[in-house]
């Protein structure tokens, strides 16, 4: 099982709670990716998010920088909001990063974002939400699957492309393209139909309840004739690892609280409730916050339900102190990963 991390960027906070600079958030994220590579983490996913608290708006740029500064780690967008971006540019940016990485370490995860902040930012109409996503995903796959540099495509959401070169080409011919979803069944079916690997973002509830969706995904893939190693599942959840469970809870809670206050303002949620936090941080809850044993056991347990091949955690939310992120990454790579491997081998 691959173990990883992902981040939307986390603008640090001053002691009085006011935000420091978004640039510092980006710099911290870059440093965390480099540290993750040194520690031996398998995967790091970046953005896309467009808020002052979560400023990782440009995964392509960050991943290109990280590709130059790392040796082994797999880097991916998590996710690229493909509906409101130009798939040609998304592909070109990540293919450029792929070239810099030496090849084979860069992935694209395509999603549509759980909120719609990119629609006004880039001048799209929310009424086109479904068409934008469907057509742009198709274009991205067309570009990636093209046997030559030249691509031909036409649709309704962007000017047609008539036999034009889209370069650079990925070192290994193609980039892995994943489809990200938060649990809408139709998206799982779509990923299967298209033969794309699927990445579940599970931000609440009980993750093992995604099992029917993973089955739907695999059955849809089989029905469409897609088999082989591209049919696979990854899981993204919130989580933080610390030497003890108590420390992990204490470290993660303030940022979680800040995040939920901000989300609550937007979505009309009540003030975050500490009891709910504690409950979600225990099995079978969705927050993988704990010591290495606890987190490893819960990842291995979820594997029994979903059969996923990669589990990656978002830790830096709401102003998590940078050193806590770095320690979590270190523990994920050196303590959680081997435990998960042992637990799965023993099954």
């Amino acid at each position: 099982m691959e173990i990883g991390a992902y981040s939307f960027g986390d603008t640090p906070l001053n002691p009085d709670g006011s935000p420091r600079s978004t640039a510092e958030g980006i710099r911290n994220l870059f440093d965390a990716i480099v540290a993750a590579d040194r520690a031996g983490l398998d995967y790091f996913g970046v953005g896309e998010h467009h808020t002052v608290s979560m400023p990782a708006s440009s995964p392509g740029a960050l991943i290109a920088a990280a590709a130059a500064a790392t040796d082994r780690i797999i880097l991916g967008s998590a996710a690229s909001i493909i509906s409101t971006d130009d798939p040609v540019r998304v592909f070109q940016q990540l293919a450029t990063a792929d070239a810099i990485s030496g090849g084979g370490r860069v992935e694209i995860t395509a999603g549509r974002g759980s909120s719609v902040e990119t629609f006004p930012l880039f001048g799209y109409d929310l009424r086109d939400y479904d068409t934008l996503y469907a057509e742009k995903l198709e274009l991205l796959m067309r570009i990636n699957g093209s046997p030559t540099a030249e691509v031909t495509w036409s649709g309704s959401v962007r000017p047609a492309i008539d036999n034009l070169a889209v370069v650079p080409r990925p070192v290994n011919g193609r980039l892995p393209i994943w489809l990200a979803t938060g649990g809408n069944a139709a998206s799982s079916a779509r990923a299967g139909r298209l033969g794309l690997p699927v990445s579940y973002g599970i931000i609440g509830g009980e993750p093992h309840r995604f099992a029917p969706l993973a089955e739907l995904y695999r059955r849809s893939a089989a029905q469409a004739g897609h088999t082989g190693e591209n049919i696979k599942v990854s899981v993204a959840t919130l989580g933080l690892v610390a030497p003890t469970k108590k420390e992990a809870l204490e470290r993660f809670h303030p940022g979680w609280h800040n995040l939920n206050v901000e989300m609550g303002r937007l979505r009309g949620w009540p003030a975050p409730d500490r009891r709910q936090f504690e409950a979600q941080a225990q099995a079978p809850g969705a927050y993988y916050v704990g010591d290495p044993d606890d987190v490893a056991e819960r990842i291995a347990h979820l594997h029994g339900h979903l059969g996923h091949m990669r589990h990656f955690l978002q830790s830096d939310v709401g102003g998590l102190p940078h050193e806590h992120l770095l320690e979590s990454i270190e523990l994920l790579a050196t303590e959680v990963k081997p435990r998960v491997a042992r637990l799965l081998a023993a099954k």
């Binding site: 759980s114 739907l216 609550g264 709910q276």
Partner: protein, 214 residues
């Protein structure tokens, strides 16, 4: 008596409600925006036991209809089919998902009243909107369980009483809040929305008028 529930929307909320209704012993007919075949595999695996149909068929065959489509798409539901039906409105106006909809931002009434204008003749009850879809199954408890949560309902009293029994069988204590207008008390931004409350706590949040009537 309700025995067949028709659900419009096979998304997160529609699927969770479908499983909850099946567990409670109801016959469940479910529809997405297209033909039944489009959601057949989804229904087979995600809500086994439910029957995939077109929206028109799911409504026509149901004793009670549940609207679980994104609010910004509510006008894609044919109002003629809902006339005379008991209908649960689970929909919320969520700017981050629905975008800016002046129809709702510019109207102080509960979103269900706005929706109700589009469905003349439908017997609309607002409920199931203030619980997260993944909590619906996890939090269901038998009647009398001290941890059982409450769900608020708003609509005309007679129809709400029919819906209340369904909510009860789903595993929650129904708490009647008043006419459709009272539904504003458990919309996004209210203390009830997204929280977890027992029936008693809900009554306190809903205020003295409701508590006295109950």
């Amino acid at each position: 008596m309700v025995s067949t529930i028709g659900i419009l929307g096979a998304g997160r909320v529609g699927s969770a409600i479908a499983r909850t209704a099946l567990t409670a012993g109801y016959t469940v007919h479910i529809a997405g925006s297209g033909p039944a075949a489009d959601i057949q595999l989804i229904v087979d695996i995600v809500t086994p036991g439910a029957v995939a149909m077109t929206a028109a068929d799911a409504v026509a065959t149901a004793d009670l209809v549940i609207l679980a489509v994104p609010l910004h798409k509510y006008r894609s539901v044919d109002p003629a089919t809902l006339a005379g039906k008991i209908v649960i409105d689970t929909m919320n106006y969520w700017q981050p998902i629905d975008g800016d909809l002046h129809e709702f931002t510019g109207d102080a009434r509960s979103s269900s009243e706005v929706v109700g204008d589009y469905f003349p003749g439908a017997r609309l009850v607002k409920t199931l909107n203030h619980i997260g879809y993944h909590d619906l199954e996890a939090d269901a408890r038998p009647a009398g369980d001290p941890e059982r949560h409450g769900l608020a309902l708003a609509g005309d009293p007679e129809t709400a009483a029919v819906v209340a029994e369904v909510i009860n069988r789903f595993g929650f204590d129904p708490v009647y809040a008043g006419s459709l207008a009272a539904g504003a008390a458990f919309e996004p931004g209210s203390p009830i929305f997204g929280g977890r409350h027992t029936a008693r706590e809900l009554l306190i949040e809903l205020g003295p008028a409701v508590a006295e009537a109950a």
